[in-house]
Symmetry: C2
Subunit: 350 residues, 2 copies
């Protein structure tokens, strides 16, 4: 198994039909861990970074965390492979672009990945389709427990797990969901939701996480602080209160649009579908924007011959590295726009 095997279809966490998938694309739980006896990564020498890397790699592979696990040494990987991993949300953009010794272990179903030498020595992440934070947490927690048997983590009895960034100290947990909020965008309520998320100390980001703008009405919402609260409290607050509330806002916005502006809504939805099924050139942002309306149309039952997972897949597979893997060669921007358009037409069956 290698990176090539990953590119052909969407990861399970995006392909499956998880709960609340009309609004929630995916759930992610991430645990930050650092090895005792080493400085945090930014303070570590090259030698220490290498030592951390090989040690973590070995322990991870020995632990049989998944029936099949792929180890990727990032400095030895091509730029395209690294970009592909970032596009699949297996690694962060930062982890893809850095130039120090680092790697990632990923399970064959891509539902679990462990970045080594990212901001923290270890970042264990588990991904699920739809709103599935508890089962995502169970996987991450299990991996954490297994690794803790073979690695000593930096831990303070007063603060909990020590992490490179103070916002992660304590449980080191970050929970996030990818929400599709076209309804709130169309009704103009999205800024209100953004502001109230900020008041609740939530981070709202774009499709690619930190530092990216929300494109295609996709918003990654995550908790920002963990100190002083245990994992269960974080999961409960976030997954059972905050996010369900946002889902309800979005659904209410969609219902209001259907009730009051159904012709306008249908027009947007079907124009998007018409463009997706006919365009000969399709830019990345343009595609996300059009897919967003198509997804809304599918979620509301206006479009009946396409399913949500097809749209989700297209979000992933129409990204630049994926297109180049598909073509088997490097493509410049105009070539990618052409292939993206062709691929979308083909997948939407026209």
């Amino acid at each position: 198994m290698n990176v090539e095997n990953l590119s052909g279809e969407a990861s399970g966490w995006l392909r499956d039909d998880g709960p609340e998938n009309d609004v929630v694309l995916s759930s992610r739980v991430r645990l930050a861990r650092n090895l005792a006896g080493y400085p945090f990564l930014t303070g570590a020498s090259g030698h220490q970074q290498n030592e951390l890397l090989s040690r973590c790699q070995q322990r991870i592979l020995d632990a049989n965390l998944s029936p099949q696990i792929l180890w990727v040494d990032l400095p030895q990987s091509s730029r395209l492979d690294r970009q592909l991993l970032a596009e699949r949300h297996i690694i962060s953009q930062q982890h893809s672009q850095a130039d120090h010794p680092r790697g990632v272990a990923v399970s064959s179903d891509e539902n679990m990945a462990i970045m080594v030498n990212e901001e923290d020595h270890l970042r264990i992440q588990s991904l699920r389709s739809g709103l599935e934070l508890e089962s995502a947490y169970m996987v991450a927690d299990e991996v954490d427990n297994r690794l803790e048997q073979v690695l000593e983590f930096a831990y303070s009895s007063r603060f909990g797990y020590l992490t490179a960034c103070p916002t992660n100290v304590g449980t080191g947990i970050r929970v996030s969901v990818m929400l599709h909020l076209p309804g709130l965008k169309l009704t103009g309520e999205i800024e209100k939701v953004r502001r109230s998320a900020k008041d609740m100390h939530l981070a709202v980001r774009g499709f690619y996480g930190e530092g990216t703008e929300a494109m295609g009405d996709l918003f990654q919402v995550s908790n920002q602080t963990t100190l002083g609260r245990n994992e269960e409290q974080v999961l409960e607050d976030f997954g059972a209160v905050v996010i369900p509330q946002m889902i309800e806002y979005e659904r209410a916005a969609r219902q209001a649009l259907q009730a009051k502006r159904s012709a306008v809504l249908d027009d947007k939805v079907f124009r998007a579908l018409g463009t997706l099924t006919h365009a000969r050139l399709l830019g990345g942002e343009d595609a996300l924007h059009l897919l967003s309306y198509a997804r809304l149309g599918v979620a509301l039952g206006r479009i009946s011959d396409i399913d949500l997972s097809t749209i989700n897949e297209l979000y992933l597979l129409t990204q630049p590295a994926h297109l180049q893997k598909m073509a088997g060669e490097p493509l410049d921007e105009p070539e990618r726009r052409e292939l993206r358009a062709r691929f979308v037409r083909q997948r939407l069956g026209t």
Copy 2:
């Protein structure tokens, strides 16, 4: 036969496949005539206008100019009927909106019409599909000859036919063609063509003639002066030299686009088709704009399952009065956008 009969499909001159119809939608020849012994219309009293109207109407109907001829008294017609006649290019916008005594006689195939009490007492016009100025002229000339046997026209042995506007004095002829010039628009050469048309004393107008902007890349080109040249010279210059030259410019622009920017061209064409076949709301200008690209795609053989006459028909039938006739009731702007979209989808077979 009444105005209702006209609304269901496009006029013959727009539905048929005339010569050069990849670029030329239609040809029109118009002759301006005034009755001797009466002032021009603007100088005529209400009584004189009424007398002119009834006299011309009677002579026209008695002359058996066409197997079936429809007479429409415009002040007695509804606003919607008058608008319909203007949309079908049977009468001018001015003739539709004026409020003095006036009318129009139109042959059942709509290839010939005579406006009474427009700017001149009589305006005989003949329309043809494609570039067909000579046969259009033959019809208008024949009507002119027949009417001259029963009406005395104002004529000066020095100047020729006398007309309300000096630019028409002489033969009173105006020839015009409706050109579809999306290629020149896309290559940016359209302004150059406009300027050289001006240098040749040609008028370049929009789809609805005088005072309208070019929409949907449709340009009505006509001669501006007639004095000192006979009909044959005007027809020869215009129909055999000037217009064929413009047609060649347009075809060269299309070829250049196909050769150098085929992906961009295809993208525009198919996005337009996708929107036309999927939109749920379609504004009038939006429709003209999209139909223009679709027409280009058909003319270039990029779109194969739609023919030019279908597109031509849609230009006509998607206009406001036509839509309201179709619905059988007055429609406000949002309702028209909805019906326009539905009708276009239906006609394009999706």
